[in-house]
């Protein structure tokens, strides 16, 4: 990738929340202004730390949703029902609040905008966030590398970035988006409800012969199932990069 591995040690920085946008009933995108933000690569994450008045603190990792070129950081947070950090970020945090974070973190699960190779993105639920950063980075860089997003969700109401994905995939510049609905599908849509399967993954132009780079992100069980399907379909495990979020989607 273009960035050198030498980054300087990570330290905590304080940013200010400039905007909050609701994505779904339980997920919001938070825009943060971080003075001196060094920029990031698509796919990286930040650690967010919350501290109570008595000094108790809790820390979680969140993938960066924004493209690298934006000077403002965007995080999309899915609220987990008995989460400790996510409910604060989606329900309590307001514009003008400070937010302590450190990053950008992670040099492995990143997509280099200079690469021309086809890229297959496989998302489970909130695992779409770092992959969205890659999709946005691709557009920002004017890249024509073929991209396909296979996005597994429970129901249409839980889809993040639905309108933006529709718009981008209809632009005709090489981005395809397919949805897998595991609990309920859009009314009238001629799609079967069910989990990720080999047929959906093996779309024309995206089989092992195309040798795409693969990024899989989401809850641990989903990542393992998807990786296993792709390896069984003949994709080289060496080009499959995974980011497990943990059993529940991780970001509590």
């Amino acid at each position: 990738m273009a960035r050198a591995a030498v980054l300087g040690r990570l330290t905590w920085q304080v940013g200010m929340v400039t905007e909050i946008r609701k994505e779904t009933a339980t997920a919001s995108t938070i825009m943060i202004d971080v003075p001196g933000w060094p920029g990031h690569a698509a796919g990286q994450h930040v650690d967010v730390r919350l501290t109570a008045e008595d000094g108790y603190s809790a820390q979680r990792s969140y993938s960066i949703a924004s493209a690298p070129g934006r000077d403002r950081l965007e995080l999309t947070v899915q609220r987990l029902e008995d989460g400790e950090v996510s409910p604060y970020l989606t329900d309590v945090l307001m514009v003008g609040y400070p937010l302590e974070l450190r990053g950008p973190i992670g040099g492995w699960f990143v997509w280099d905008t200079g690469a021309g190779r086809p890229v297959l993105l496989v998302a489970g639920g909130s695992g779409v966030v770092p992959l969205m950063s890659m999709i946005r980075a691709r557009a920002e860089a004017g890249s024509r590398a073929p991209f396909r997003l296979v996005y597994s969700v429970r129901s249409p109401e839980t889809v993040l970035y639905a309108a933006e994905l529709a718009e981008r995939s209809q632009a005709g510049d090489g981005l395809e988006v397919s949805y897998v609905y595991t609990r309920s599908a859009p009314p009238g849509a001629r799609v079967r409800v069910g989990r990720l399967n080999p047929v959906v993954l093996a779309a024309p132009g995206w089989t092992r012969e195309a040798a795409p780079a693969v990024f899989i992100c989401g809850p641990t069980g989903f990542v393992e199932a998807a990786a296993s399907l792709l390896v069984k379909a003949g994709h080289d495990p060496g080009v499959i990069k995974t980011e497990r979020f943990g059993p529940s989607g991780g970001q509590a």
Binding site: A4, R102, I105, G106, G250
Partner: protein, 88 residues
């Protein structure tokens, strides 16, 4: 949690002490000799410390514990690390 995460989760902890991103470094497992990126290790995070296990043989490749102000690192499970240090 009884499952593991990917080695990428080590990037935050290591980024505090090292200036180089360790997750893209390639390490050789001292137990089985497999070479893989640290990001490909199996990391158990629900513990008093972080434990990374070889993606191939499951033996411990590294351990990290932290208190307020101190970090301990045991890398005996890695024979060597190969890091990208361009310009050196």
């Amino acid at each position: 949690m009884t499952t593991h995460l990917d080695g990428n989760v080590l990037a935050g902890t290591f980024g505090v002490v090292f200036a180089v991103d360790i997750t893209t470094a390639v390490g050789q497992c001292a137990s089985c000799g497999t070479r893989e990126a640290i990001a490909q290790a199996m990391v158990y995070t629900d513990a008093p410390g972080l434990v990374a296990r070889c993606g191939c043989c499951g033996e411990v490749v590294l351990r990290v514990t932290r208190s307020a102000g101190r970090t301990w690192l045991d890398m005996r499970g890695v024979s060597y690390l190969e890091l990208q240090t361009p310009g050196e």
